[in-house]
């Protein structure tokens, strides 16, 4: 056993950073269910460029078939020679499809897609680190990357080849292909996801018939991520693709697209790992609003509904997104949403977490937002005033206090009279609020008493409703009593 330092013995919790440092960058193999028998040793084939053009096609096919052999990369000593041969062959194939014209004859398509499918489509292995924190932890890298990278490269060059014909390829690059491709976006290896992103984007561009399908499957992945697993590594990449897809939507927007915005993109904001894809998500949302400004109100209401209650980091992101939206908002839309929105902003300004408060106060540095506020100062000032006034006296952070003073000054300049009125009524308003609060407490107390004085109600609230008849008898007196009251009421003035 290694020597244990005293500090370690004290709490047993070594600091996370220390543990991290000890760990090496790990890599893991693909979860291939090895029904395949042990790899046969590969023997090198002649170079394509040396072969006479009549035999080139045949050799190309042979090389593709050779590349269907899979190797175990977790074992770094076996099959070294064959691995090298495959690597060299893949390199040659990449080169061959990207530089030569006329190599994509119809018979090559099935061979090509077969090689690609065999290599890249696999069930992703279980995560080594079940509480993988994408922000803190190093991702586990794909062990067979030396080969897989080249296969991805090859797929990309294949799709981008000027001779590439979607009408032939669609027989092989079909819904099933896309589905498997989408599943790979869950890979922990960012290099792989990056390739997948480009490839899916090309496929979306070239195969018109697959577009709706791709959108629907992405939808499903997101919904599953939001409501079922809360885990999917490729959300950011998929959103990036969607960003450019949304950009190309025709106007007026189809109902399907609006539904996607409201039922998928907005709920995506609830994810715990929002920080990993927030930039892409906000971009998509803003794209939608630029296309169709009438969506502004539902979108902002949606964001307000999912506004983070405890996570300050997420709150800062939400504020960032709101600012992006306000940057493109139309004044008429702003009027529709200003009151609920500024109520939230006024809460943020008063947030004890200085980063949240600061982010909200930065809105007043934005010229366009300032002009919107000025236009609607009569509505906004009364909402903001209370928080700002209080915070200017109470916030622990001097930077925030300074910012608040500036904001108050700006607001005062916008409507001096209203500002003075609010200042003079501030105290009375607070007292009224306090009184209201007291009243509410009082009422709840009364209610408690009502329940306490009535054992049936107490029982009822503690244990749900009585199930058997004996309990029912207990309950009836009160019901009857209230029924009697009701009959009184019917006779009375009402």
């Amino acid at each position: 056993m290694s020597a244990i330092s005293a500090s370690e013995k004290v709490d047993g919790f070594t600091r996370k950073s220390m543990r991290k440092a000890q760990k090496q960058r790990k890599s893991q193999g693909s979860s291939q269910y090895r029904t395949q028998s042990a790899p046969v040793e590969l023997s090198p084939l002649p170079q394509l460029k040396d072969a006479p053009s009549t035999e080139q096609q045949e050799l190309f096919t042979q090389k593709l078939q050779q590349c269907c052999m899979l190797f175990d990369f977790l074992d770094s000593v076996t099959d070294l020679k064959s691995k090298e041969i495959k690597r060299a062959t893949l390199n040659e194939l990449v080169d061959y499809v990207s530089t030569n014209r006329g190599v994509l004859v119809e018979t090559a398509y099935p061979e090509i897609t077969d090689m690609i499918c065999t290599n890249i489509f696999r069930t992703l292995p279980p995560s080594e680190n079940p509480d993988f924190d994408p922000e803190e932890d190093e991702p586990t890298l794909e062990a067979s990357w030396p080969h897989i990278q080249l296969v991805y490269e090859f797929l990309l060059r294949f799709l981008e080849n000027p001779d590439f014909q979607p009408s032939i390829a669609k027989r092989y690059i079909d819904q099933k292909f896309v589905l498997q491709l989408l599943e790979l976006f869950d890979s922990e290896d960012p290099r792989e996801r990056d390739f997948l992103k480009t490839i899916l984007h090309r496929i979306y561009g070239k195969f018109l018939g697959l577009r709706a399908f791709i959108r629907k499957q992405i939808n499903n992945i997101f919904l599953r991520f939001i409501y079922e697993t809360e885990h999917f590594n490729g959300v950011a990449e998929l959103l990036e693709i969607l960003g450019s897809i949304i950009n190309g939507f025709a106007l007026p927007l189809k109902a399907e697209h609006k539904q996607f915005l409201m039922k998928v993109l907005i709920p995506l904001h609830t994810a715990k790992a929002l920080s990993l894809f927030h930039a892409q998500l906000a971009y998509c949302v803003v794209q939608f609003l630029e296309k169709d400004p009438t969506l502004t109100e539902p979108v902002i209401r949606g964001l307000l509904k999912f506004w983070p209650k405890t996570c300050s980091q997420k709150e800062v992101m939400f504020l960032g997104e709101i600012e992006e939206i306000l940057d493109v908002i139309e004044p008429t839309q702003f009027k529709k949403i200003q009151e609920p929105l500024f109520k939230q902003i006024s809460k943020c300004v008063a947030n004890p977490h200085f980063q949240v408060a600061e982010r909200a106060l930065y809105f007043w540095n934005n010229e366009y937002i300032l002009s919107l506020i000025e236009e609607n100062i009569d509505k906004i000032l009364p909402i903001m005033f209370g928080s700002l006034y209080r915070i200017s006296k109470e916030h622990w952070n001097p930077t925030i206090v300074a910012l608040v003073y500036n904001v108050l000054k700006t607001l005062m300049e916008m409507n001096c009279t209203l500002f003075d009125e609010l200042t003079s009524s501030y105290k009375a308003d607070r007292q009224r609020e306090k009184k209201k609060e007291q009243e509410r407490d009082e009422l709840w107390k009364q209610l408690e008493e009502l329940r306490l004085s009535n054992p049936t109600l107490v029982q009822n609230n503690c244990h749900g409703l009585p199930k058997n008849n004996n309990d029912l008898n207990l309950m009836f007196p009160i019901v009857l009593h209230l029924d009697k009251l009701n009959s009184y009421l019917k006779m009375s003035i009402f």
Binding site: T123, L223, L485
Partner: protein, 645 residues
Amino acid sequence: MFGAVNALGEALVCQALHRGVKTQQRRREGPAAALLWQKPRSAAQQRHSVTAILSKMAGADGDDSLYPIAVLIDELRNEDVQLRLNSIKKLSTIALALGVERTRTELLPFLTDTIYDEDEVLLALAEQLGNFTMLVGGPEYVHCLLPPLESLATVEETVVRDKAVESLRKISQEHSPVDLEVHFEPLVKRLASGDWFTSRTSACGLFSVCYPRVSSTVKAEIRQHFRTLCSDDTPMVRRAAASKLGEFAKVLELDYVKSDIISLFTALASDEQDSVRLLAVEACVSIATLLPQEDLETLVMPTLRQAAEDKSWRVRYMVADKFSELQKAVGPEITKNDLVPAFQNLLKDCEAEVRAAAANKVKEFCENLPEDSREQIIMTHILPCVKELVSDTNQHVKSALASVIMGLSTILGKDNTIEHLLPLFLAQLKDECPEVRLNIISNLDCVNEVIGIRQLSQSLLPAIVELAEDAKWRVRLAIIEYMPLLAGQLGVEFFDEKLNTLCMAWLIDHVYAIREAATCNLMKLVEKFGAEWAQNTIVPKVLGMANDPNYLHRMTTLFCINALSEACGQDITTKQMLPVVLKMSNDQVANVRFNVAKSLQKIGPVLDSNALQTEVKPVLEKLATDTDMDVKYFAQEAISVLALA
């Protein structure tokens, strides 16, 4: 007067309800949304004025039982979520006060309109409505609850939807067969053919509760709907259907199980998404249980075999995880022919997750093998795999195995255990991963019954010592918890010789939790070995610590005394422990002094009244005048608890 007050309360209730409905409409209409914002203010003002009147009148009369109800209803629309939530949680109170009729005609429509709210509120609402049958007038009117629950069953948030389905399932039982067909079944149909996937997912959970109690034509419709959902093009819906397949199969007539369920099962088990396939494995257990033995081979086994070799590790993991259930469901013959090789493969799977799940099942699987061939199967087929797992590369696999491997000894008997299992136990006791060793040690009792623990003691000791000094305090804590068990099995002699020093060393551990556990451990040991043993081996050492320069160690003495006094009895406590405690009342550290007061309070009941009066009382009285306020507090508490004042 009496009537008038209540009329006012009543009017308020009405007003609150109707205002609510109107606001909801406005909200949905959209353009007038700004109004909604001003609403709470005016509501509050109104309430304010009404409050004033009411309190005046209530003062004169004293009965204002309906008034708080109005408040509750008003709060249902408050801006603050917490207040809405509080109010929703009191929903049964509101309903009870309104009476069944008005609950049906006013409250429920109002609630149905409320379904725009925050998920938290909706969740509470969905839960409440499941218990509402009596409040709407009993089973005769239970269908009134369906509209709000139907809306809740379509919301996005899974938690809310699941709760709504749970409540719907609950109240379905309260429907009469007629109502079930007239009201409930149409709802299920509407959900099953909803546009958005959420309603279809919810529908999946409702088929099985209404199927047994409806007519055969309706039954046929229900089966058709279920079939449709099993091939829905949203994977979420297929997952929901797959997860309810077993439950639905249970309520179907056997012929339909064979004709309908099997084909659905086969289709789901070869779905393109592994998340659907793995749910089919769960259903497999229920389906196999329902079918007669002779049909299993043709109807279930092909699918099960395929699942055990699925290309996705998640599906194979599921098979491993459900292995014991599957084994019971398919019976001994199929187990022998099919499951044994399948199990071997799972134990050798390329994914550690799958191996660990299978390793967890080793004991249960072996136990449930048919008796006539059990030993032979284990020795020739299972044990070789188990041997490999002992030196697996993954610690979770080894640790899963270690938690069950000891159980094999009872199945295999003494000779086989000594010859085949013992070497494995010993190897695991030396494993580099503490969890593995710990799991072995924690299951020693199984081996003890079969071969006696002596066989292991030579290897046991180094393993225990190493765990006792592990760097992770949680490991140390775990081994402490097994000490009493070990002591019982190893006997007092072995314990004194080898383990006693460890137990004492834990008392001065750096981590409080360890010192605390060590104290508790001593108590259990004394209970096991008796007071005399305690007097000779433990008490002197514990009391010796009272003079330690470290105040934490001095406090440990007190904690030990607290724990041990009862087990040691009056004699030892009075003669040996009490003097030490009393002496420590002069300690210079206040923490020690107030712990003296606490200890005296604790051991007081063990002492006789003479000792209490002459020795304890003066000391406590002195402590009660201490300069430190905590010492004072605890001394006074002790005085009053021991009734020495």
